[in-house]
Every structure is written in C-alpha cells, then in structure tokens.
Symmetry: C2
C-alpha cells in the first residue's frame, strides 16, 4: 500500500474522531461581528492552538485589537524540495439572527438525515469551521501514518473574516516573513455541485459601507412634525432607490470602469457547465434574474458587479405601530466587484451619490468596511493542474474551474502583501445556507474534503520545482 | 367665595396629593403596542377603576380582545339641565425604545427643574396620563368641595390608543347607549405655546399600513446570489422613494382629492398667530420645510396631508457587517389626511402603488391600521365659546383656535357612532417629546390644566340648553 493509500485509509477509519473534534469547535459561538462574543472567539482560537499542537505544529496565538490570529508551522518534511504551503481559514462565524428561524440551537450540532444524504447542522458547519478542519484533518492523517508531512506546511487562522477583518492587513504586514510561503491554499469556497470538485479561479471583490442619515436632532411625533420635518428614512430611500436603474444596472458614474467582457474561452467553459439559472432561482423562491439584463444568471453572479443593501433600519420596527418621525436611519450597503474595478473609486462615487441626494439640513456618516479588488487566478500554473488531477481522482469526476460570486478579501491581501497566489478549493454546496438560519455542511463534503486535501498535498509535493504557480 | 373659587382653591391646596396619584399611574408600564405588556395595561385600567370609584363614580371595566375599556358615570347633579358630558382619554403609552436615549428609567417619574419651569418626566406624563388626570382631578375637586358635579359626567378610557385602537369601534358600537352624551371632551391635544390656552378645531386623519415585501424564500449570501436574486430591500426602497416627488408632494394618484384650499378667515386667524416656522424647525435641528413647497410650516402641519415612513427594517441591523441578501423587508407607512380625503381611497391607491412596483416573483403583505378621516369642528357652537371664555379667564390670555397635525381617530368615531361633537382642550407643549425619549409634562400644564377643567365644567353647565354644540 502506498503512503497515499494508507493515509486515505486512515482518514476513513478516523472519521468518527474527526467529527468529534469538529463538533468541539462548532460548540463555540465565535461570532466576530458582535463584541459580546469576544471571549468565544478567544476560546475558538485557543481550541485551534491546542488541536494543532497535538499534530506537532509549532503554534502561536497572536492577540490583536480585535480577535486573535493563530499561526502554526511544521517545517520538517521528508521532501525538502516540495513547495512550502500556507493554508488560510477563519474560525469566526456569522451572527445567528433571526434566531427564531433556526430549527435547533445554532451552536448545538446535529447529524441529520436529508434526501441528499447526511449533513452536519450548526452555525459554522460549512463557513468556515467544517472547511478548515478538512485541511487540519488531512495534515493529522499524513502525520499519524507517515510521521511527517509531504511538504512544509504553515497554517494561518483569523477570527474576523465575518466582520471585515480589521486586524488582517496590519497583521500580515507585520508578520510578512512569518507567513511567507510558496503557495497559499484557501478553503472557503464551494463545489459546482455535490458531485463535481471545483477550483475557484475568479472572486468578486467588495466595497462595504454603513451609511447613517440624520435628519431631526431627536425622534419626533409624525403628527406634530409630519410635513415640514424631513424624515431621514425618506432621504435614505431616495439614495438607495437611485442606486439601480430599471435594467438592474448600478447607476454610480464610472461604476463599470474596469469591467471587461468575459474572454471567449472562459465564456465557453462556463457554458459547458450547463448551469440551470431557472432552477437556481426557483430553489430560493424566485423566477426572474434581477441583475443586469443581457447576462445569464451564472454571469450575473461570477462576472458582473452588483450592489445590495444588506440591512436597513430606522424608526419603530417592533410590534404594532408607532407614529414616530425618526432622527436617524441606517443602511449597510455592499458592492461586489469584478475585473479591474477600483474599490477606492467606487467608494468615492458612492459618497458623491449620497451627498448629491442629501438635503441641506440632513447629515450623513459613513462607516467603511475594508474594500478589496476582484481576483483572477493564473489557472495555467502547474499547481492548478496538479490539484485538478488530485480532485478528479478523489471524486471520479472531472474537477472544474469556476467563478465565485463571493468576496474573499484575504486572497487579495495574500497576493499584495505576501506576493503569493492562492489556490481555492472548497467543498461547500449551494444549499449550505452559510449566512442563514440552519447552516449545514454535507458529511460527504467533510469526509471527501479531508481525502481531497490528502491527495492535493501529495500531488503538490510531487513536483520539486519551487515555481509552482 | 363662590363654588367655583372654592373648588379652584381646593385644587391649589390638593396639588401635592394629585401629583402623588399621577405618579402612581405613571409607574405602570402600560405599553399597548407590545403584548408583553398586557398585564401592565390591565393594571393601569384597574388603577383607574379604583381611583374613579373613590370619587363616587359608578365604574365598570370592560375586557376586550385587546386591552380593557373603563367606563364611569356620575349622573347625580344639582344642575339637571346641564349637558351630559363624556370625557375620553387613554391610559396606554408609547413604547420607550430607544431606551438608551432616556436620561432615566421611563417609568420612574421625576420632578425636574428646567429653564422653563418644573416638569414631570416620565413616559405618559403628557400623552395621555397627565392630561387625563387633569380632568379626573377637576371632577374630584368639584365633588370634594360641593358634594356633587356641575353636570352629568361620564368617563371613557381606552388602553389601545397608541396601538391603533383595534377594540374601539366594536366596543363603541356595542355600548352606544352607555356612552351617548351631549358633548364629548377630549384632552389629548396641546397649547399654542406655554402661555396660550388652545382649543383644537382641526385634526388630521390617518391611514397607516405595515408593508412587508418577500423576495427569496430564505436569507441568502449576497456573494452567492447577489445579482440575479432580487433583494426585497431594493424593492421596498423603490416603492417608498416613489411616494414623494421633488416638491414634497405625495405622488399617489387622487391623493389630493378632497383637499380644499384653506378658507380665508382660517388663514387669517392662523397668520395672526405669527408662527415662527424657522424657529420651530431649528428647535429640532432642521432648517428647510420638507413638505409641499408653497405652504408655510404651520399650513404644512395643520392643513396639508403627508406621508411618512415611521419605521423600516430588513436584513442585518446589528453591529458590524453581514453580507446577507434578506428574504424580507418591512416598513410602517402612515398618511396624515385633511379635509375630505377618503381613507379607503388612499389605502387603495397605496396598494396599487405598491403592486405597480412589485417584481413578478416578489410578494407583499399589508397590515392595516384603522383609518380615520380628518375632523373640522363647529367652532361657532355655544360650547366652544363658553370654553374659550373659561380658558381665557384661567390663563389670563385669549384662548385660540388651532389646527392639529396629529390624528385623534376617536374624535371621528365619536361623531360617526355616537353622533356627538368633541371639544378638544389640552395642555401639552411642543417640546413634551410625547413619542420620544424623555417625555415630560409641564407642572404648570398639570396644575392649570386641572383648574381649566374646573372652570370649563362650570361654564358648560351655565347654559341650560341641551343644544350645546
């Protein structure tokens, strides 16, 4: 039996214990957006420190003004010419509200039978605790069976991914030497479908802004002041309604600068995926593509920029009615970017858009989320081919290159600060509900995810060239 | 000393005890909009039952599907030819959020010194507990000093005024005979300024709707679905932004049907009030009248209809950022009506406005608040003149007739169901913050409010004619 086969067998045999470890991590309510959960984030970081030490990693927890970073190294390897890999993941999770829509407590995991097989149900099961543990377990299996790893491996976990990663850039700048490797591996993406392994090669970037409009200096009675007193919700509605035209295009001047037509070869590969846009929308209760007319659903997600309001609030939102004319109204707005769109230019255009629609006696404040450019990967590099082959062997189905509508800002930072390309492999499925109630991760994703990484580690170490990408 | 003078003296002497009674009622957190406070509303009703019994009223609490009604009668009077008066008030209060903007717990009263004199600080101090107690205390003083009341008096208190009064119309229909009197007195209005006693003769009506837009059947990740998936916040923003044109006019077709120009005499009387629209807005941090261009601030409040969004919510509104594309978005919208505007027609026009802007795969649900027409009082009737004279004597300043931007739906119901006119006298001031944090009621309003009712009761009983209005 080859080393690879032995390690894969060990993964199969050790699955129950691997699941128990994952459940331990899922039980920690490490919600990074809310400072009330700061201790929970610390506990999740410490959990990782302990677990990685048990595999022989040299681990350090680095505290930040936000949540801690965990950095681990294992440099001893029998294959000193193999590339040094840096795996990135995040141990924080999305908030759980609206809590009443969960069928069970979000931090008490369950294995549930579904028509599509067994799933692990919990907040963070897919995003990103389940995914990051696929890689950790792959390392553990290699180490257990062979006593070493196929290549030098470093791990880098943050706890602020779901809250804009405020500490990430300063930390990466400060620890550049500590983090530098040959190739980054990022497991925060999904599969084309439950059978088809996938390497994500395009990521949308992001600009996020919280905008607060202040009108009157205090909440007013809408009978006593309604008419002459400007309502900040009315101002906010106008600002937000004007962000799209009737064809689903974003109206900010210059917004589409840097958005190139899709290259023909990419366009052809995507067409060969036979994506059923109608079924994709029907699965979430919709029928009509709401993005720019003239583009397929897949193109609207993978290759076109967007604007969405992710949250809005103002006035009385409780049960019943309150005839208030509020002092403030707030919205969280995000733009997804593609191609060469410039986050800073789009932020400026948005600010201008708001100021152009702001009555003289209202004021506005902005709270920016870190922006990031879109990413397009060098898919012709050897590491991409090796990974594609390893995934195809594991899943017995050709691995595909796909776009990704989401934003993974760290991929941009890894490129800019560490000068490294990233290889994005993940095992999430479209229906994992990763930012919604009842998040889940397929048990098959977890199990074959571990096996996939076992194979990828082997494949990447086969070529002794350092110029993997 | 005349009876009237003796009663007024008793009011002055008994003020500390009257305040203690008011504080007892203010301590009850009778928030009617939130079912969590149902027991508190019951306690407030029981408090009134007990207090009115102590004055010799024949009192009954009538339970409803919502909060209880309290009806009390005292028919024995030395003046059997005096008109039978029905006093209306409400013991429920507005919600207190945002709680963090209160300087003290909303249901722990305080007497505070301010540059404009002493104030009673608490939720409900003005709206409507303080006001209703001015009338109750006036009755108590008459009864204590003379052993009787100057006329037959009935009292009618509800506990749902701040939550759309769902039980009011059915109850009034069922208890028509029990509530019928010659003239209604309603103390839920304010004074022109802190020196000028005021009878409100015009009230805006109201149409209120809670509207919920549903897009996707579940909350989505804005990266994975942003573009093709319609965002219900975007739909809602468009619907709401289209409600006003650039001149502050409401755009619903037919909205201004029934809105007549202000009669010249009313226009002249209002002009003589020398209202400082600029100062009125500056007091709440605004500069520019936001209503229809071409109308003064006073006209925009008293004689022009409006539309306001009183609350909006959707997506993630907590700390930080969550890149959700929500399933639902909700707004509470209200229209203030004047003249002969028809609430049902405006509701229909609003529904049509929404449906016209609703994408085919989104749905909408409405939750209507009871509508009410605007009210214009018969100011030439004797009761208005008698009341004006009594108020002028108490305040040593001419009482004025004023409009009122707010809506008091019960006034319409009293007219339609009981066939009675209402006389609206109240002692609130513009800065009482009645639906806002730190609500207050001037101590002078409370004290001279009681004295005013003592005088009004005497004045209304002077004329033995039953055709008071």
């Amino acid at each position: 039996m080859s080393d690879l086969d032995s390690v894969l067998a060990a993964v199969d045999e050790g699955l129950p214990e691997a699941l128990e470890r994952l459940f331990g991590l899922l039980a920690i309510d490490s919600i990074s957006t809310d400072t009330a959960y700061k201790d929970s984030c610390l506990r999740a970081a410490n959990w990782l420190v302990d677990d990685l030490r048990s595999i022989g990693f040299d681990v350090q927890r680095h505290d930040t003004p936000g949540h801690p970073m965990v950095v681990a190294h294992q440099r001893s390897t029998t294959n000193s010419t193999a590339p040094h890999l840096l795996f990135y993941g995040h141990y924080d999770v999305q908030p759980v509200d609206p809590l009443e829509l969960w069928d069970r407590p979000p931090f008490e995991h369950a294995i549930e039978e579904t028509p599509n097989g067994k799933v692990i149900r919990a907040r963070g099961a897919a995003d990103d605790k389940g995914q990051l543990m696929t890689f950790v377990e792959a390392c553990r299996a290699w180490k257990t069976v062979t006593g070493t790893l196929p290549s030098q491996i470093s791990l880098f976990f943050e706890g602020e991914e779901e809250s804009g990663s405020p500490s990430l850039i300063p930390f990466m700048n400060e620890h550049r030497d500590n983090l530098k490797a040959d190739l980054a591996l990022v497991c925060d993406t999904g599969m084309w479908d439950s059978e088809t392994p996938t390497i994500s090669t395009m990521l949308r970037g992001m600009v996020g802004e919280e905008i607060t409009i202040t009108g009157p200096s205090l909440d007013l009675h809408s009978g006593m002041y309604g008419g002459p007193a400007m309502n900040p919700i009315r101002v906010l509605n106008r600002i937000l309604a004007d962000l799209h035209d009737d064809n689903g295009r974003v109206t900010l001047p210059g917004f589409y600068d840097g958005v190139a037509p899709l290259p023909d070869d990419v366009s052809e590969q995507w067409a060969s995926l036979n994506h059923d846009g109608k079924a994709f929308l029907e699965a979430v209760g919709l029928e009509h593509p709401a993005g720019e007319s003239g583009y397929s659903v897949l193109e609207q997600i993978w290759s076109r920029p967007t604007c969405d309001v992710n949250g809005i609030s103002g006035g009385y939102a409780g049960e019943g009615f309150k005839t208030v004319l509020p002092s403030k109204a707030t919205a969280k707005v995000s733009f997804r970017l593609v191609g060469d769109q410039d986050p800073a230019a789009i932020q400026r255009a948005f600010y201008q858009h708001v100021h152009d629609r702001l009555p003289a006696d209202c004021s506005v404040s902005f709270l920016a989320k870190d922006g990031s450019k879109a990413t397009v990967m060098p898919v012709d590099a050897p590491a991409f081919k090796q990974t594609q082959k390893a995934l195809t062997e594991e899943w017995q189905k050709d691995a595909v290159y796909a776009g990704c509508g989401g934003s993974i800002p760290v991929v941009g930072h890894i490129k800019e600060i560490l000068g490294m390309d990233s290889l994005l492999v993940g095992f999430m499925l479209d229906d994992d509900a990763i930012h919604s109630p009842n998040e889940k991760y397929a048990l098959k994703s977890f199990h074959k995810g571990i096996r996939s990484w076992v194979r990828i580690l082997a494949a990447l170490s086969e070529d002794s060239s350092r110029s993997q990408t």
